[in-house]
């Protein structure tokens, strides 16, 4: 037995163990360093796992040496590796940032709690991605959800409590639906192992209980991924959470839910041809389009920048789900590429907004006017990320859009090309509202002097901004893994 074999377990165990230790220590610097070590190691492990998968194919790991289907199986394939790297990578960037950021947002005697909850949330999200067991997925989903309720409630604004409560209600409903769906599948198949479920579901294509399970899972996961019209919890949660939490959740939480949806649809229900037999594609297409247009339109009228970009997230989730609705390799590739690209872009935006919050004390459009002069780097970073949201060539968003349109063309749905592109023009409008306020209005009295956020916040944000541009030119990492994963998924669905 060497350590390399246990990487799948360590991936989750390290951050999971760091959380209670941080609580026991109760010293904020030590807690920070401990969690930092755990999360950076988790990132390193995810990269190692990805390399291992690339060398020798999917990894199956039996927890406690109990072979599946009796024990819990951890399973790493290309898709899992991608999500693991995304979650741990974003966490590794956000955590150093959070140290300076929470200084002004959270009472210092609660800092150790913040780090503990952050580690727990990361562990939960990583667990969702790595587990091959449907019930275990639910458990990790609850771990990540509960910790994120706490993280949101730590926000300085009192409305954070309401936002957290709202998310708790919606999240709990979603989780209940998921557990009901998993329960029904267990009843029908007699196993909780995902691979086992997939095999046994083949013979049960017309079964009503299976259809009910599909319905419960779809609604439950859609709640967690904030698919329009189940997105009401998201804008408030992102707007009132501490800045670091907004950035982390915006970049990862909904993306991991997308992962869960893909797993259930393609890996578990794949053999039952749900897309061919049920109007799933039309249903998802409709909701995706509604999200793209309505949420973008709502974003245009927001005054608070965090809310503006939160609604933009709902719209971008529309693009992600649109890719799934094509049920093709190119479509799922587009979904996965956009999942990563949007995570990086939105993560960068929320990190930058955190810096604005700190320097200017507010992020309404009237408060940030003239910030092109007082915070030139931050403003320019937000503009660059905004261009990626629009999908300007040379940014990550362009690559996503390219694949999405290619998928629509492959499908022969030419009108969709127009729809995708017109909705991206709505993004021009809300991004340009920021540009005009930041660059055409004079700074408020007292803001004339240059005051960027501290370097410990600027550097992590800058890293993600650079990644946003980098992934617009070098797509060997994003598209490379995404198309491998899409081929695995859609092949298993054929």
């Amino acid at each position: 037995m060497n350590a390399a074999e246990h990487l799948p377990a360590l991936q989750v165990v390290l951050p999971l163990a760091a959380a209670p230790l941080a609580v026991l220590i109760r010293h904020r610097l030590t807690a920070f360093l401990l969690v930092l070590a755990a999360i950076w190691s988790a990132f390193a492990i995810s990269v190692l796992l990805w390399l291992q998968v690339g060398d020798s194919g999917p990894i199956s790991y039996a927890i406690g040496n109990w072979p599946p289907p009796w024990g819990i199986e951890y399973r790493v394939d290309a898709l899992t590796a991608l999500v693991l790297m995304l979650v741990s990578g974003v966490a590794a960037v956000v955590l150093p940032y959070s140290r300076a950021s929470i200084e002004h947002e959270i009472a210092s005697d609660l800092h150790y709690l913040f780090y503990a909850m952050f580690a727990l949330c990361v562990a939960g999200l990583l667990g969702i991605a790595i587990t091959g067991d449907a019930f275990n997925l639910f458990v990790f989903l609850e771990i990540s959800s509960l910790s994120s309720y706490v993280l949101i409630a730590l926000g300085r604004d009192r409305r954070a409590l309401v936002a957290s409560y709202q998310y708790l209600l919606m999240g709990t409903i979603g989780a209940s639906f998921i557990v009901i769906g998993v329960g029904l599948l267990y009843l029908e198949t007699g196993t909780l192992n995902m691979m086992g479920m997939a095999i046994r579901l083949q013979g049960l294509t017309g079964d009503r209980a299976v259809l009910a399970a599909l319905a419960f899972l779809t609604v439950g996961i859609s709640l967690k991924l904030a698919l329009f019209p189940l997105h009401q919890w998201l804008p408030n949660a992102y707007a009132y959470a501490p800045s670091a939490v907004s950035a982390f959740l915006a970049a990862t939480a909904t993306k991991v839910s997308v992962y869960a949806l893909l797993r259930f649809y393609f890996s578990i229900f794949g053999e039952t041809a749900i897309f061919q037999r049920l109007p799933m594609a039309d249903f998802m297409l409709l909701l995706a389009l509604a999200g793209m247009f309505l949420a973008s339109t709502v974003a245009i009228f927001q005054q608070d920048l965090k809310r503006l970009f939160a609604y933009s997230s709902v719209a971008q989730i529309g693009y992600i789900v649109l890719g799934i609705s094509f049920d093709s390799v190119t479509g799922v590739t587009a979904t996965l590429v956009h999942m990563v690209n949007h995570a990086v872009t939105k993560g960068a935006i929320f990190l930058l907004l955190g810096g604005v919050m700190l320097s200017l004390g507010g992020i309404t459009l009237t408060r940030v006017q003239g910030m092109g002069r007082s915070m030139p780097l931050t403003s320019f970073g937000i503009v660059l990320c905004g261009l990626s949201l629009i999908g300007v060539p040379g940014t990550a968003g362009f690559v996503s859009k390219w694949y999405l349109i290619l998928a629509a063309l492959e499908h022969g749905q030419y009108w969709l090309v127009g729809a995708i592109l017109s909705s991206s023009l709505l993004a021009v409008v809300y991004v340009w509202r920021f540009v005009e306020v930041a660059y055409f209005r004079a700074p408020l009295p007292g803001d004339e002097v240059r005051r960027e956020a501290p370097l410990s916040m600027l550097i992590p944000a800058g890293l993600l901004v650079v990644a946003t541009i980098w992934f617009g030119f070098d797509t060997s990492l994003t598209v490379g893994i995404a198309s491998d994963a899409a081929q695995e998924l859609v092949r298993s669905g054929r």
């Binding site: 390219w402 349109i405 290619l406 063309l409 492959e410 127009g418 592109l421 021009v428 340009w432 030119f473």
Partner: protein, 489 residues
């Protein structure tokens, strides 16, 4: 990247303006150094671009692959004759424009001059990226970059009017490129599996004529920078910019990037043969744009507005020439890119010179101004001759080829349009020259004496006016490039 690519003038022609922009932004506190860097960069850039001319004329096609964002679809550059011509014009006129900018920006005490010079240098980099683009993806990338990088230049003044103009500018250029150009590019990739520019076109042989027409429409309206009606409104809206920007936008980089892309796509994506019979509607719309824009220009009293609509009209000459599909007229299209660049930049320089020296913006205020500003108005006269298409100005040469091509195809509609627009051009340019030299000074002007504009301004507009004449007498280089473009199978 290997040592040979690092030494290639192609790579350096793209990097140099970016390096220049960085140095300019670092030297922002020392205006003399900053302007020195701008001028040096421009001169060196032109020298580098010119080094490519010899090999291209000899039949070489230098290539460079930078990155590969999509498998099989790289950001790549390839110098072909038309791109060479555009690059020479853009980098050459940047030198003159920089001289002019120094006089204008200082003479009018403009703010944010460092930002201005930085964006200017980056806009030139983007224009060269378009010129040398080896495939549609690269072209689209730099096309969008050019739109974005010129936005701060258009809105330079920072006033509400500038912001409104910037909105129109961005909305039309971004809207058309995202809604039409991007799907056209992706559709070509979807159909053919390549977006390279190749002599003779890349579309598959069996493609039906309906698809060709739709693709052509997407490309022609998607390239909003070519200002084909009804997507021309950004051009007059962008007139809020300082005059050197108008000169760059409306004579060199932006509009020429538009019509350059039109010709390049017609020749290298579709191929002249594949389009036979599919361009009648385009001839009609281009013809309509030529005449309608001239009529608007006729009624405009604001000098810059008149020049803007004249540009809209002249750009459609290029589109018309390309749409006629005769090799001679396509040569005319390429020549007109050069001819209009020199003529129109002279006219804008003159407008800015009048504004700087006399603070006048309307045509009706120009009575007798030629006596106080003889150099400016003489240059203006030469530019006007070129617009009308009379010898001894460059516009005559390009119009000659355009008309020859139309005759070869027996395209009487196109001939009628050219004839009518020549008359209209004369009707809105000659009265200005007449006013300036033959009408007496108004009482108001007598009360406010002024002389010529500052020396850099006068120098710059004399150089471009000279260029306009030189292109008439010595059209060999652009002609050779244009003919190579249509001759290589």
């Amino acid at each position: 990247m290997s040592a040979t690519t690092l030494g290639s003038p192609l790579l350096w022609s793209l990097i140099l303006p970016i390096l220049g922009a960085i140095c300019i932004s670092l030297s922002g506190r020392r205006p003399n150094l900053r302007e020195g860097i701008t001028l040096t960069t421009a001169v060196v850039l032109f020298a580098i671009v010119a080094r490519l001319l010899g090999p291209v004329l000899a039949g070489e096609r230098p290539e460079l692959v930078l990155l590969e964002p999509f498998p099989g679809l790289p950001v790549a550059f390839r110098v072909e004759p038309l791109g060479m011509l555009f690059a020479l014009i853009a980098s050459g006129l940047w030198i003159v424009n920089s001289i002019y900018s120094i006089g204008y920006m200082r003479g009018n005490d403009e703010k944010h001059q460092t930002r201005f010079y930085v964006c200017f240098a980056l806009a030139i980099a983007a224009a060269l990226g378009i010129a040398f683009a080896g495939n549609l993806l690269t072209l689209f990338l730099f096309y969008e970059v050019l739109t974005l990088i010129t936005y701060p230049l258009v809105t330079h003044a920072g006033t509400d009017k500038a912001r409104a103009g910037g909105r129109t500018y961005l909305a039309i250029l971004m809207g058309t490129s995202v809604l039409f150009l991007l799907p056209a590019v992706i559709y070509v990739w979807h159909l053919t599996g390549t977006t390279d520019f190749r002599p003779g076109g890349i579309l598959p042989a069996g493609i039906d004529s309906g698809s060709v027409t739709i693709l052509l429409a997407l490309f022609m309206f998607g390239i909003g920078k070519a200002a084909l009606m009804p997507f021309h409104r950004w051009l007059p809206a962008a007139m809020v910019a300082p005059t050197p920007v108008s000169a760059l936008l409306h004579a060199v980089a932006v509009v020429k990037a538009g019509v350059f892309s039109v010709v390049k796509i017609v020749v290298y994506v579709f191929g002249l043969d594949a389009l036979t019979g599919a361009t009648d509607w385009l001839v009609a719309i281009a013809g309509f744009t030529i005449v309608a824009a001239s009529v608007v220009a006729l009624s405009a009293d604001n000098l810059k507005r008149r020049l803007a609509y004249s540009t809209v009209s002249q750009l459609s000459y290029v589109i018309l020439a390309a749409a006629i599909l005769a090799p001679l007229s396509v040569v005319g299209a390429a020549l007109h890119i050069a001819a209009h660049a020199f003529g129109k930049i002279t006219l804008f320089f003159a407008a800015g010179s009048i504004y700087t020296a006399a603070h006048k913006t309307e045509v009706s205020q120009l009575d007798g101004i030629g006596r106080r500003m003889p150099w400016t108005m003489a240059a203006f006269g030469i530019g006007a001759l070129s617009m009308i298409g009379l010898p001894p100005a460059a516009g005559f040469v390009s119009k000659w080829y355009l008309v020859s091509g139309a005759m070869a195809q027996a395209h009487w509609f196109a001939l009628a349009v050219v004839l009518l627009s020549t008359l209209l051009n004369a009707a809105y340019f000659l009265p200005i020259v007449y006013r300036a030299f033959l009408r007496p000074l108004s009482a108001d002007a007598v009360a406010h004496p002024h002389g010529e504009a500052p020396l850099p301004i006068v120098l710059a507009l004399c150089i471009t006016a000279g260029g306009t004449l030189a292109l008439f007498f010595f059209p060999e280089v652009p002609l050779a490039l244009a003919q190579q473009m249509v001759m290589t199978p």
